[in-house]
Each structure stands twice: as C-alpha cells, then as structure tokens.
Amino acid sequence: MSISRRNFLKGSVAGIGCLGLVPVAGMRFAGWAEAGKQPSGVLNYVASSCAICTNKCVFRGQVVDGVIRRLEPEPEFTKARGMMCARGNAGAATPYDPDRVKYPLIRTGKRGEGKWKKATWDEAYAYIAEKTNKVVAEEGGHRSCIGFVSSEGTYHEHYWNQFREIFGSPNSLRHPTLCLSSNIRGNMSVFGTYPWADVKNSPYIILAGADRAESFFTPDTMDMFGDPRKTIICLDPRFTRTAAKATRWYPIKPGTDMAFALAMMHVIIGENRYDKEFVSNHCVGFDELAQHVRQYTPRWAEQETEIPAAEIEKIARDFASTPGAVYYPGRRSGWQGEDVQMRRAVAMVNAICGSFDRPGGLIPNASIPLRNYFYEPAWYDLTRPRLEADDVTFLNPRDGSWIAWRERALRADPYAIRGLFIYKQNVVDSVPDRSKTLELFDKLDIIVSIDTYMSDTAWHADVVLPESNYLERFDPPYSLAGIVPYVVIRQPLIKPLYDTKPGFDIIKGLAGYFADEDGDFLNEYFEGDVESHASNFMADYPGGLEMLKEKGFFTDGRKAEIGAYRSGKSAINTPSGKVEFYSEDFAGRGLDPLPTYKPVEEIPENRFRFLVGRHAIHTHSMTAAFPELNWHMPENSVWINTRSAKKLGIKSGDTVQMKNRTGGEVKIKARVTEAIRPDCVFYAHGYGSLSKAKRLVHGKGAAQAAILESHFESISGNALMHETIVEIRRV
C-alpha cells in the first residue's frame, strides 16, 4: 500500500519562486495583523460544544490572541469517547468563512439572483413585519398562513417555538420526517419508547441502514469500530466504510429489510430459540406473531432480499444464541413502502430475543431533566389546524410531515400559506424534490431565513438575518438523552466578528415587530436573557452551571438503569403496558396490527434506485464547502456499478445525465465502482449548491434534493427517500 505525492514535486518546486497565500483559509490568521497587536502566542482554552452535527461533542477550544486555532476533544466527555471528528475539527474555520452572512440582508433582485442590500436589524425586522402583517390581514387575520421551520442543534430552538406559538401559527416544521420519524414510531408501537442500542456491551450487531463509520453517532461509532472483536453484520446496498469494517456484508435489495426481519423471526420462533422468559413476562401478542411469521420462510426471504436462505438462518441462530446481540435500529434502511411496519419488525426481532432492557440490547434512554422554560401563552380565535393534520396517522405537531405539508401548501389546501419563517433548516437542499420547494417559494409573499451562512435556503429568501456563529455564541444548557445522559452548553470562543446576533436576540427582536390580538407586542412575552434562562434551567443542580462553564458538560452521574423495565420499576409506555407484537392500537386505526410484507416495486431494465447516504466528512448539506473537508471531496460523483456502467457505456469521470420520474434532472460525473448494487446509484449530499456564496460547491456536482422524488408514508409522515427511480445516460 503506497501512495506518492512526489509527482506533485515538479510543479511545486518550479512554483516555489512565486509563493503567495490564497486568502480564503488564510483569513483565520489575519485577525492578529488587523488588530495591530503583537501576537503573544498564549494559548487559552474555552469549553463548549460542537454544532456541526447532532452529537454535540464537547471540546476545549484553543484561542490564541483572539483567534480560534483548534477545537480539541474533551477527554472527559465520555459520550464522544474523547474524540472530535473531521467535521467538528473543520468547524473551527467557520467564523472566518469570507462568504458567511455578515449583516442583515434584504433582497433587491429576483429571488435566488443574489442581489441584496445591507440593512440594519430594525430595517430588516420592519420589512418582514410590514409584508407579514399585510398578508395576515389579507387572510382575514388568521396567522396560520405563516409556516415556521426550524432545526435542532441550535440550543435556541425553544425560543423559536415560543415565537411561533405566541405569533399564532400551528404550522411548525422540523427535520424528523426527513429522517427518523418512522423509526421512532415503529419502536414506540412495540416498546413504548425509542430505545438506543447498548453497542458498547453488545458482541453481535446487525447493522442495517446505519453506516455508523460514516454517519457518526456518539458513542456508538466509537464503540463499534474501536473494538474489532465485535461481530458486525452489515446489510446495505452499498459497500460503505461500515461494510468495509463489518464481519460480513450483504448487499440487501433495498426495501426488503422487513422480509429479512420476518424470516429471522420465522427461524427463531420456529426453532424455539426465542427468549421464553422475556416473551411470557413482558410481551403481548406473541401467539399472533408466531402464527403470522410462519409464512415468511428464509427461502422466501432469499427471493426478496437476495441474501441466501442459509445465511439468514445462520444469522437468526447466532443472533438468538448470543447474549447481548442487538439488531441496531438504523434509520436509512427502508425509507420505502411500509416503513413503520419494517421498523416494527426489526424491533420485534430484538423483543423475541429479549434484547431489550438488558446489557448489549436496546435500552430506553435516560436524560437529565432541566427546569422548564416557561412563557405566557397567547390565544387567537382564528387559528386553523395545521395543513396536513388529516394526512398522517401519528403526526407530531412540532415536527409536521414535510412532504405532506408541502403538497398541501402547493395546493393551498385547505388554506394558503403566504410566508415561511425559517430558522437554520436548509429546506431547499434537505426536502426531496427541490423544484417543488422552489415552486412553493414562488407562491410566498415573504421568506425569512435565519442562518449563519448563505445556505441555498437563505439564498432564496427575502430577508436573511445572520445568527452569530456557534463559536461566537452563548447557548443555554441542552439536555442530551442517552444510555449515559449529559447536559452540554456553548460559550463564545471569540466575540462576534460581524453584525450578527444569537438566536434569542433575533427572535425577540423580530417578535417586537408583531402584536397579539390585544395589541401587546410579542417581545413582551420573552422574559430575561439567555444567561438567566441558563441559571434557571440548571437550578436543580447546585454547581451545575459552574461545571458547564468550566468543562462544557454536566453530569450528575446518572445512567439508564438497565433492568428497570424487567423488574417493573419503570413502566412500559404502550397501551397494554407490555412490549407489543400484535398492536390493538394499530388495528383500531385500520393499520396492519402485525408487520405484513408487501413486495417492493421492481426496477425496470436500465433504471436504478437512487440511494441516499452519508459520508464521514459531511453533515447533510452543511459542510461540503468547509475548505478542510472540501479538500477531501471537491465534488461529488454518482456511484454506479461496474457492470451496469459497462452496459451503458459509462466510464469513471464521464458526465452523465440522471432523470427521475417526476421531471427531476441533474448532471454529474460518474464514479464506476464495484461498491454498489448493480440496480442502485448513489451520490453524496451537499454539492451542486445553488447559492453562489457557497463558492466551493456552487455548480460543483449535483444536489440530492434535485433528483429525489417526493414520497412519504402516512403512518409517521416520514419521507420515503428510497422511492426514487432514475435513468442515466452519458452526455
């Protein structure tokens, strides 16, 4: 194994006479010179937590002469096992990104044209309020016509929710239905909770749809791959980094995971290998399940999944006989057809083997409760139900169902949406079928984006309100659930470099331009400041806030108590109070009470199923333009299997055109590889950006949202990300 950079030598040596720094990344050391100070070189540390993905890893931020140098992992923060991933490291450059939004902007050109005027905060708020109040008046005063979008990760999101409530709109939209809503719902119906796997103590893990080597989840990623003794069975249509590290990899046919799980249960129950003690003491509906899975033989499942029957049998037997074995609840498998039912089947494999509330198994999370954030409610007579209220069986009113909601909004059914207030979520890139999102934007009178940088969503907004970067902000304590829970915080490493504000200030500021029905301004509903809220959150833990400020995290030593549900100390939160196989609740709602397999749509000849997936250096659409990450992947390319590519005459590096069935079309370079099923294609998220202020990825490669068709399932409202079928040709 060797690589050589010596072939770079010639050019480098020849070029050495004309040295010059390209300014982009050089920015971060510019602070010293500008300040006109002599650098002291003294290294200071500030404890805080990462904002580049959902894990919120705690770090010790190195600050030298007022400039951030590096974010070092906090070794005592055991949730991350003392690590900082590539993305977290690269986050250190974000405050110095020359393309970040530096002051409030009001659009002057057409939407998406990139023409702006610099505004003061008051001008920006007044502009928003004028447009918004006008459309609300036009709608007869009902405020439901403004949609509120937000995303987790900023610890200010509760203020946003407060603003939406006191403003008087029920239309709240968040990220979960583009991710894990179906997984949560499936597990809730079986266990009454969404448990996490005790990876650390599990010797045998079935990983389906969780590319944990590239989709980091703390501490699972660390525990899974830091211990090469574990048996990892990886089911994935793509040969991921996880597949590379797994004991065995099976390129399962997408959408057939339920067949695999049902056949496992067929074997485990048929051969009497299930955990009789657990099933009889803690579960209901087992007889119906046993009867139900008799039809699902491994031989049948082989036809569906393309995994040999003998392998399914072996995995089933090994799983049942290995104490602590767990079928990991991955999110990305499925996202097709009966997605919630598939999740239930996986949960049931764990349940029949007693892999719940025992070491190595699925464990209901613990959390460190913080004092509630209280505020006065506002009441409006005219508020209507949210748009898609009738489209989804279990609709979470905070999360909504993105695709169902957007369909309704496009049809103004049952009422028109006139504006979107968007806090952080990059909806243009994250909701499948970008053209529909932009079509909706075209119908709106006002689009506000609060963001730290010019995402594709901010790029299409009317007003961009720049939030201070996470390294410039104080964020209130945030409780992280887990088998070992923590509370984390954010503290500024540096002062804001530009005219930006933290989320709370922006939200309160904007609220001050709106009034309730009594004419009271909405900012009056916001009491105190972030510091005082932080103290109040932690009021039950003397010394807690001090620990947060010193270390970036707080723990009172608590952990999920394994065995508490078995002993009866904790109650299982299902209607029956037991782990449920046959669900009366589902039956009562007209849903299959047991997971019943429905075959997946066959992919026509020369068509491909488009897969989504992660890459260890990227978080969704956020990071592709971070210079230190982009260095590793300047452009994305579409993975296409060698044999399929040959048939189509496609070679690596060729530009190909991909079309879906609903008018979506992209051009992208091909990457011909053995590492994907011949009937699937894949490319990474975050490229092909429309925003010209994401210079490194604007027009480079293709965006996932441009090719994904929009489909959703109606039990949880989750997007079906793997229901996109594309054709490809060389151009």
Binding site: M1, I3, S4, R5, R6, F8, L9, S12, V13, G15, I16, L19, G20, L21, V22, V24, A25, G26, F29, R69, R70, L71, E72, P73, P75, R81, G82, M83, M84, C85, A86, G88, N89, A90, A92, A213, E214, F216, T221, M222, F225, P228, F239, R241, A243, A244, W249, Y250, P251, A616, I617, P627, E628, W631, H632, P634, E674, A675, I676, P678
Partner: protein, 189 residues
C-alpha cells in the same frame, strides 16, 4: 524544545480500527496551522488505501494511517545539506524551516513519502509528532481526535507506558523494514 534524552517517542497504530474518517488529517492541519488551500499534496498524515478490492459482492477495503516515522536511522536527515532537518535529544526528527532551501533532496530520500513542499512555510514540512504538545504533556492531535483511537502514543523507554505494554503483548510490524530506517511507527497485526 530539544526534548529529553531519556525519552523514546513511538506511535502504535491499529489499522483494523481505522474507519477512514479523516479526523486525523483535519485535526493535524488545525493544530499546526497548515493551510492546504486546495493543494492536494499538502498533508502531514494520511490514510493509505488500495480502494475497494475484489468483485461485487465479494469486496474488501483496508485503511492504513501513516505519517513521518521519526526514523532512528534517518535518511532525510543524512541528506539535508543545510541541517534544516535535525534531531532532538529524544529522537524526534524536526525541521528548522528558516534553514530549509527547498532543495527537496529529503523528499526523494524519505522512503515513506512523509514530506512535502510547504508554500506557506517556504520550506519542506512534515509531521513533528506534535512536539509542541507532547513537551507540555499533551497528546499529538491525530491521537487525541481519533474516534476509534487507532493511534497510541508514548515513551518506549517507560515500560509502564501504553505503547510499551501493547508492543510487549501484540504482534506488530514496521513498514519497509528493508529500508533500514528503524522507524518509530509500529503497526499491529
């Protein structure tokens, strides 16, 4: 910063744990203020892989992290005409950037391809084992940042150090032993 004579720094690498996540590369660049500015040859540590091997569906892929081996028998040091490459008392191979004339002889001499031309420094650059950190009791950046703790760093002169213990109990190899460099990067089998 000459290092203590009684130290013998070494790194033990368990490639089986590496998930090719690139945290070590980014952490190193941050810690050492290295600006690649898009230039592909700029890195102090790296992950070697032959890519995906085999034919679908029988595939494998391996990852092998590497960096300067801080060779005890040191080809780069021997060829340097200006003593820009020098040795600390503890055996670390260091660069005096001011003395470097970028003749690049050391690049050719290094069997591990550990060196590159730094436009930023106007000199040749390479991994220092984060000497500035280890002399203040901290770990090199590539070690502390790694999610799966592929690299273990320590003093081979201390029999109680983790590196000594691992090497006493596990099988290991070094890369290119035939080059006679006596490297201080040890790979577990």
């Amino acid at each position: 910063m000459a290092g203590a004579k009684n130290k013998h720094w070494a790194m033990v690498i368990d490639s089986a744990k590496c998930i090719d996540c690139k945290a070590c590369d980014v952490a190193c660049k941050r810690e050492n203020g290295i600006e690649a500015n898009g230039r592909r040859e700029v890195y102090r540590n790296w992950i070697t892989s032959k890519g995906v091997e085999g034919t679908y569906p029988n595939l494998k892929q391996r990852f092998e992290p590497s960096q300067c081996h801080h060779c005890a028998n040191t080809p780069c040091y021997k060829v340097c005409p200006t003593s820009a490459t020098y040795k600390n008392d503890d055996g670390l191979i260091m660069m005096d950037y001011k003395r470097c004339i970028v003749c690049s002889t050391c690049i050719a001499a290094c069997p591990y391809d550990a060196r590159y031309v730094s436009k930023q420094k106007k000199a040749i650059d390479k991994c220092t084992f984060c000497a500035h950190r280890i002399y203040t009791g901290k770990l090199p950046a590539c070690v502390d940042t790694c999610p799966t703790k592929v690299r273990v760093f320590g003093d081979l002169n201390d029999p109680e150090s983790e590196v000594s213990k691992i090497l006493a109990s596990r099988h290991y190899f070094v890369i290119k032993p035939e080059a006679g460099t006596k490297p201080n990067l040890y790979y577990l089998t």
